[in-house]
């Protein structure tokens, strides 16, 4: 049974308690841990060492791609595919292209921000072991959870329970896989 455990979860009542617990767990050497909170907590991001993510890069690439697409689309249509000579004005009328280039930059960047967010979070994810804990529904209301996963090298069922209980949580529960 213990082999099949996803991890152990401790429930806290305040953000302060959770951040302190997350720091203690990191200091103890646990690395495969995650916290679940009803709202973003900046200190928690620090405590778990989560500061870097690839989203800005994804959005930058999306924006650059959008800008290039917008410009080339207009260039191709007005210069190559459908050239119209009006009073000898240049076909490659770049000032007129600025707006659509800008709009498509924003559009592609925004779409890549949302798709990037979902991809980096692994969403949509219809099933996750944490939902097996009955009280976990409160993670979207007013409770703060710290979960140490069984795949952490330091994890041992009895010792980790003891460690979590030393942090004075409201409750420690096993998370079925």
């Amino acid at each position: 049974m213990t082999k099949q455990l996803y991890g152990l979860m401790a429930e806290f009542e305040t953000p302060t308690a959770l951040v302190a617990a997350a720091r203690a767990a990191r200091e103890k050497g646990y690395r495969k841990l995650d916290a679940y909170t009803p709202f973003p907590i900046e200190e928690l991001t620090d405590a778990l060492g989560l500061h870097h993510n690839k989203l800005p890069l994804i959005v930058l690439l999306g924006g650059v791609l959008g800008g290039i697409t917008g410009y080339l689309l207009q260039y191709y249509v007005t210069v190559i595919y459908f050239p119209i000579n009006i009073g000898g004005r240049p076909l490659h009328s770049w000032p007129a292209y600025i707006i659509i280039t800008f709009e498509l930059t924003i559009l592609f960047a925004a779409i890549s921000a949302v798709l990037g967010l979902l991809a980096l979070c692994g969403l949509p994810m219809p099933y996750h072991p944490t939902f097996n804990v009955p009280r976990f529904a409160l993670a979207s209301r007013n409770r703060f959870f710290l979960c140490i996963q069984a795949r952490d090298p330091l994890f041992d069922p009895a010792g980790t329970v003891k460690f979590l209980e030393s942090l004075e949580p409201r409750e420690v529960s096993e998370v079925a896989p």
């Binding site: 009542e13 305040t14 953000p15 302060t16 951040v19 995650d34 916290a35 679940y36 909170t37 009803p38 709202f39 973003p40 907590i41 928690l44 991001t45 778990l48 989560l50 500061h51 993510n53 989203l55 800005p56 959005v59 924006g63 689309l73 207009q74 249509v77 007005t78 595919y81 459908f82 009328s93 007129a96 292209y97 707006i99 659509i100 800008f102 709009e103 498509l104 924003i106 559009l107 960047a109 925004a110 779409i111 921000a113 949302v114 967010l117 979902l118 980096l120 979070c121 969403l123 949509p124 994810m125 099933y127 996750h128 944490t130 976990f136 409160l138 993670a139 979207s140 209301r141 007013n142």
Partner: protein
């Protein structure tokens, strides 16, 4: 529960009323959606929405059968109500993006209680706005000709035309607003999924929440995403009404061809948008007992934004008149002179009264702190801003260069029916939204509570 009895007075000053906890905030906002009892106010509002929506469907049906001739648009006033309504609606949408994006970047945390329904207002206002250029096409079913796509006709849109820029600006704006709104909803959908007792609701909100579980890893990416989306939406919202104003300024019609239109239009948009935010927030907070979350301070702040943008608009009217005189151009002179004294002078002076004179009352704190008066002044501003667009469009087109081509615009009953119809569409969508989704961002309001701050130990 012991953690919920923290003394809120000891914490730092917050905008929402004291005494709230994470639990009560969640329950109060979620109950509006999850309750089985729908208040009579909702049925009344939704009912008005449906009746006007039916009127809209009737007008559109008739338009499809008979063509745009059912409207009063005749040469030379070919834009008439359709473009007036388009500009009015799209302007209203701007306040939502301003609140959700610009105020987020400026770290104005009070916006957390009003951004959700303001963003919804943006989406629905853009939906109403989008109707008019499409219906105005003459053959609305061929709307896809607006987009560049490979076709057997071998033709493409003219990328040098502001009307095509508008297509891209408005559709990008609609898409980005919808994405931003949905990302903001994700954690709250998870809350609804976890709070509901109905199997169907749990399934529906569960699908929409996509398995959000409030993981710290997710929150850290999520915060980056909101910030980036806000950063993208900020220049976008300023660009949209700029592009709308290009529809006017790039033409050489007297009264349109001027360089200050973009900032003037953006300020007007935010002006009317905040008026709409107030017009929606004041009844909602009273009916749903949300005075503790949408406080008087929120209303006052919105009124101040309204006053500030109203003064920018007033400045623009003065510059418009001054420029017309300063250009020494006879057509510019007469365009403004016709507005002030010609066939549309009633509309012109009403708009000056509604947009410049009446809002000066907002200087007084006594006016700003009375929701009923604020509601009244926001309706006045909404009417004034509609008249502004009407006067700009109709008076300039009706009397342009050669008097022999002048003609006065007469709105028909179908003009009014289509306009009222989009108000119905807006109300219909908005009331559906407040019944089915949390109208206040639950997770962002939680962060406003004093308990949300992590207390650091001294010397830690």
């Amino acid at each position: 529960m012991p953690d919920e009895r923290q003394d809120p007075h000891s914490g730092p000053k917050t905008i929402i009323a004291p005494g709230y906890t994470f639990g009560t905030v969640t329950d109060q906002i979620a109950t509006v959606v999850l309750t089985k009892r729908t208040p009579p106010f909702w049925f009344a509002g939704f009912g008005v929405g449906i009746v006007l929506l039916l009127l809209f469907l009737l007008s559109v049906g008739l338009l499809f059968v008979k063509g745009v001739g059912i409207w009063g648009i005749r040469t030379p006033v070919m834009w008439g109500f359709a473009i007036t309504n388009f500009v009015w609606w799209i302007g209203i949408g701007h306040a939502g993006t301003l609140i959700s994006a610009i105020l987020l970047l400026l770290n104005q945390r009070w916006r957390n209680s009003i951004n959700r329904f303001a963003e919804a207002m943006t989406l629905f206002a853009v939906a109403c706005a989008g109707m008019f250029p499409l219906l105005h096409l003459g053959r609305p079913w061929l709307f896809y000709w607006l987009f560049p796509y490979p076709n057997t006709m071998g033709v493409q849109p003219n990328f040098r035309s502001p009307l095509v820029w508008d297509v891209f600006a408005v559709s990008t704006y609609a898409t980005v607003s919808a994405l931003f709104w949905f990302v903001g909803l994700l954690p709250d959908l998870a809350t609804l999924r976890d709070r509901t007792h109905s199997r169907f609701a749990r399934f529906a909100y569960g699908i929409l929440a996509m398995g959000w579980r409030g993981s710290a890893r997710h929150w850290s990416v999520y915060e980056t995403a909101s910030l980036l989306l806000a950063g993208l939406a900020t220049p976008l919202v300023l660009s949209v009404h700029t592009v709308v104003s290009f529809d006017f300024t790039i033409a050489i019609v007297p009264g349109w061809h001027s360089t200050f239109f973009p900032p003037y239009f953006v300020a007007g948009a935010i002006y009317s948008g905040f008026a709409m935010v107030l017009a929606l927030a004041i009844p909602l907070r009273a009916v749903y007992g949300l005075e503790g979350l949408i406080t008087k301070e929120h209303l006052e702040n919105s009124a101040k934004v309204m006053l500030a943008t109203g003064l920018i608009v007033a400045y623009a009217y003065m510059m418009e008149t001054f420029n017309a005189w300063y250009t020494t151009n006879v057509y510019e002179h007469s365009a403004i002179w016709h507005r002030m004294t010609g066939p549309y002078s009633v509309a012109y002076w009403s708009l000056i009264t509604c947009n410049i004179l009446a809002p000066q009352a907002l200087w007084f704190k006594r006016v700003r702190s009375k929701p009923a008066l604020l509601f009244l002044s926001s309706i006045v501003v909404l009417i004034g801003m509609w008249l502004e667009r009407y006067v700009i469009i109709v008076s300039s087109l009706a009397q342009d260069f050669v008097p022999s081509s002048w003609s006065i615009f007469q709105a028909t009953r179908w003009d009014w029916a289509t306009y009222l119809g989009t108000i119905g569409l807006f109300l219909f969508l908005f009331f559906l939204f407040i019944r089915l989704l949390p109208m206040i961002s639950i997770f962002e309001v939680r962060t406003l509570l004093p308990q949300a701050r992590v207390q650091e130990e001294v010397g830690d």
